[in-house]
């Protein structure tokens, strides 16, 4: 009992530190990639190749004065960024980054919490994330903030649907809500040696899910809640200092988590298919798995960043039309087709 608590605590601390470091790296990568896309140099002054620029930014945010508008609702103004970051961080708890590792004579699962309804847990938390943004927008008592908050709640609700429906397609194929098992199912190979990743089995669901994930993380081309030309800064217009930093942080954490979920659900997760060929087992296999997971997640993140700097933003009505009239019907059709095929296969 006590031991389990210590192990869980260690895992949580480790994950948090890793996530925070990753965010700093991601911010740096994003700026470098954007510079590359726009044919400029990007951060290059602080540290070698500008690597410490992000660190300097963090320090700057910590030192800045925290300004709360006079007519803002103070408690909720404080609460909103906490909700955002809390939700973003805790989503990672159920994502498996490897199978098991043996440390100090103990089998340790490579995820924080092994809940048998992992996917539902993720859906529940993402549906909570909207509150941070909405409340931030409302409590600031500023029309741009409010508009940003409103846009975001409408957007998140709209895309949550197609997200959930495309996940059901994956569930039908894996027959489990446990992320670990979903990864396990993808470790097999199909005819011709293609890995049985869900991206091949559920290509339509993959597309709808990825689009919905963009919308859920408020990334371009769906970053309407904070569209600078229209809304100043959107929901975080009235935030500064640490609280603004928390919003930034949660946005990047969300991006990392979304990439991790995409990898887990569709791209085979941590599964390392050639373990036997390389003669890997035990801890070395676990390390290989974690590396696989990290590389895949990194690639997905790179993809997300590239999208941001190459695509223009949607108009608001286009966004809604896409969500309700395109993504949702496609996701539903995919669900019906998948279910019918599975039913036919079971019947035959």
């Amino acid at each position: 009992m006590f031991e389990t608590a210590i192990i869980a605590g260690a895992k949580i601390v480790l994950t948090l530190i890793t996530l925070l470091t990753l965010v700093v790296l991601t911010v740096y990568t994003e700026r470098r990639v954007s510079a590359f896309v726009q044919d400029r140099v990007g951060p290059n002054r602080v540290g070698p190749k500008g690597l410490l620029q992000a660190v300097a930014d963090v320090v700057k945010l910590l030192m800045k004065e925290d300004i709360v508008p006079k007519n803002a609702n103070k408690p909720i103004h404080d609460l909103a960024p906490m909700i955002s970051i809390g939700v973003a961080m805790s989503t990672f708890a159920v994502i498996p980054i490897g199978s098991t590792m043996t440390l100090f004579g103990r089998q340790i699962d490579m995820m924080i919490a092994d809940v048998n309804i992992g996917i539902l847990y993720i859906l529940a938390l993402t549906s909570m994330g909207v509150y941070g943004i909405t409340l931030a927008g409302w409590s600031s008592n500023n029309k741009y903030s409010l508009l940003g908050g409103l846009r975001s709640s409408a957007q998140l609700i709209s895309y949550e649907l197609s997200m959930g429906v495309s996940i059901i397609g994956v569930l039908l194929i894996s027959g489990s809500l446990e992320l670990d098992e979903i990864v396990g199912k993808q470790a097999a190979t199909l005819w011709g040696g293609i890995p049985a990743w869900n991206v091949f089995l559920q290509p339509v669901a993959f597309v709808t899910f990825v689009v919905a994930a963009f919308a859920e993380t408020n990334r371009l081309p769906f970053d309407l809640p904070e569209a600078e030309p229209e809304l100043v800064g959107g929901y975080h217009t009235e935030y500064s200092g640490l609280k603004f930093g928390l919003f930034m942080l949660s946005e990047y954490v969300n991006m990392i988590v979304a990439s991790a979920i995409i990898v887990t659900l569709f791209l085979g997760g941590y599964a390392f298919p050639w373990g036997e060929q390389f003669g890997l087992s035990g801890n070395s296999l676990a390390v290989a798995e974690v590396l696989t997971f990290c590389v895949k997640t990194g690639l997905v993140m790179f993809f997300i960043i590239m999208i941001r700097w190459t695509l223009p933003r949607f108009r608001y009505d286009q966004l809604m039309r896409l969500g309700w009239k395109v993504m949702l019907p496609i996701a539903l059709a995919n669900l019906v087709v998948t279910a019918s095929i599975l039913a036919l296969m079971n019947w035959a």
Partner: protein, 170 residues
């Protein structure tokens, strides 16, 4: 040694009832919604102590995550101000209403206190029943018909909402 289940129950129940009272006493609609969300979380926690994990998560996804966002959305869109009391007086009717409600409440509490539950407590079975698989099977076998009818009910609700709320029927 106090049973941890009892502790959990007491904490969640206090949170549940307390946030419920906060919901109906707040003047700001936004605050009321926030307490209602807290209330749903406490309820989800209570479901968890009953081993009904699926219902607990659905409670959060559907109620706390979707329905309350819509509430908040509407409240923010209408830019509702804090409620003002229309009538401050205590009338005989109000006193009667409170008295009657209290009487009914104590009656129900007393009845629950003196009666024995008809269903036996069986944690293993509850855990079995709370799983997604069990609920899915029940929905598509024993409760197939009500499940399908529910979809009709929902369609009627949606159609009705559109009819009543659409700007222009043409």
């Amino acid at each position: 040694m106090v049973n941890i289940e009892v502790v959990l129950f007491v904490v969640l129940a206090v949170l549940f009832v307390g946030s419920g009272i906060m919901v109906i006493t707040r003047r700001s609609p936004v605050l009321a919604v926030l307490y209602l969300i807290l209330n749903f979380f406490a309820l989800a926690g209570l479901y968890l102590t009953l081993q009904a994990q699926f219902i607990a998560v659905i409670q959060i996804i559907v109620y706390a995550g979707a329905i309350m966002v819509l509430f908040l959305f509407v409240i923010m869109l209408l830019n509702l101000k804090d409620e003002e009391k229309l009538i401050e007086k205590i009338t005989a009717r109000k006193v009667l209403a409170v008295g009657l409600s209290a009487a009914v409440m104590f009656e129900i509490l007393y009845i629950i206190w003196i009666s024995t539950p008809g269903i036996e407590r069986d944690v293993a079975k509850a855990e079995e029943l709370g799983r997604v698989e069990a609920i899915g099977k029940a929905l598509f076998s024993d409760f197939l018909f009500p499940f399908e009818v529910t979809s009709v009910v929902l369609i009627v609700a949606i159609v009705g909402a559109v009819i009543l709320a659409k700007k222009k029927l043409d």
